[in-house]
Symmetry: C2
Subunit: 131 residues, 2 copies
DNA sequence: TATTGTTATACTCTATAACTATA
DNA sequence: TATAGTTATAGAGTATAACAATA
């Protein structure tokens, strides 16, 4: 499974390289476009990344003018993350590129196997820690 | 897939912790017991780890007297890796522990899904890089 | 010349503690 | 007092270059 994941990640990163995105920055951008107004702590939890480590990821996306950090009026501690037009455009291009990546990776599996994998991945949950 | 792998790895490492093994050291031990006489460079390739990084892994196993580094008479540059009796005993215990881990992880998947995942993982190969 | 094992090193990822400004 | 975001830092894991011994 580790090796399979390494192969998938390597191919995905190669796919995203022309867009100057990595797996995390891609995932973050997708979540922000799909959930505008998201807060950093919510995004950190969704990505399963420490808040502290998310900061540099967000810094990068903001520095490239792909997203903005907007103060939340009702809670001045928090930032709402919103995509810019450039962010939405890169999102579109990235999504298309990732579709090609998925075709490459899933190539050789029949439809039944693909669905089984997707189901199986979602069955594996934190709950398995508790025995 | 990343999250699923993280869950699996965390559970596996917890499982191996009482035996003072991590995922890599476990994998290395298994390969050495199953292929006695293996050379470091072969093991590095099998584990998909850089030779340089394998050194410390082998150092650890050797330091705990689980394996030995034996000079190869026909090629004095190389070391043949062989398990000690203690190494074989730990291997047995580790294998049993990992069976429990697998039961936990695969729990909740029907037999068909398990087989599909195993097949799917083995379909994903370096070949997918070449398009 | 090339290869095996090794050392040193740098770079990335991840985890933790402590700070600030708000609530 | 607790929370959101931030900074600094330490620890893994991984990748690369260079070296000695040997082929």
């Amino acid at each position: 499974m580790k090796r399979a994941f390494n192969v998938v990640q390597a191919d995905l990163n190669q796919t995203l390289k022309p867009l100057d995105l990595r797996m995390v920055t891609y995932s973050a951008l997708v979540l922000i476009v799909d959930n505008p107004g998201l807060r950093q702590s919510q995004l950190a939890e969704a990505l399963d990344v420490e808040r502290a480590n998310l900061v540099v990821i967000i810094d990068e996306l903001e520095g490239r003018d792909l997203i903005t950090r907007d103060r939340v009026p009702t809670d001045r501690r928090a930032y709402a993350l919103n995509p810019t037009l450039a962010g939405r455009r890169l999102y579109d291009r990235a999504l298309e590129a990732v579709r090609g990546h998925e075709r490459r990776i899933l190539n050789g599996m029949d439809e039944e196997a693909k669905q089984a994998v997707i189901r199986a991945m979602s069955v594996i949950r934190r709950g398995s820690e508790g025995g």
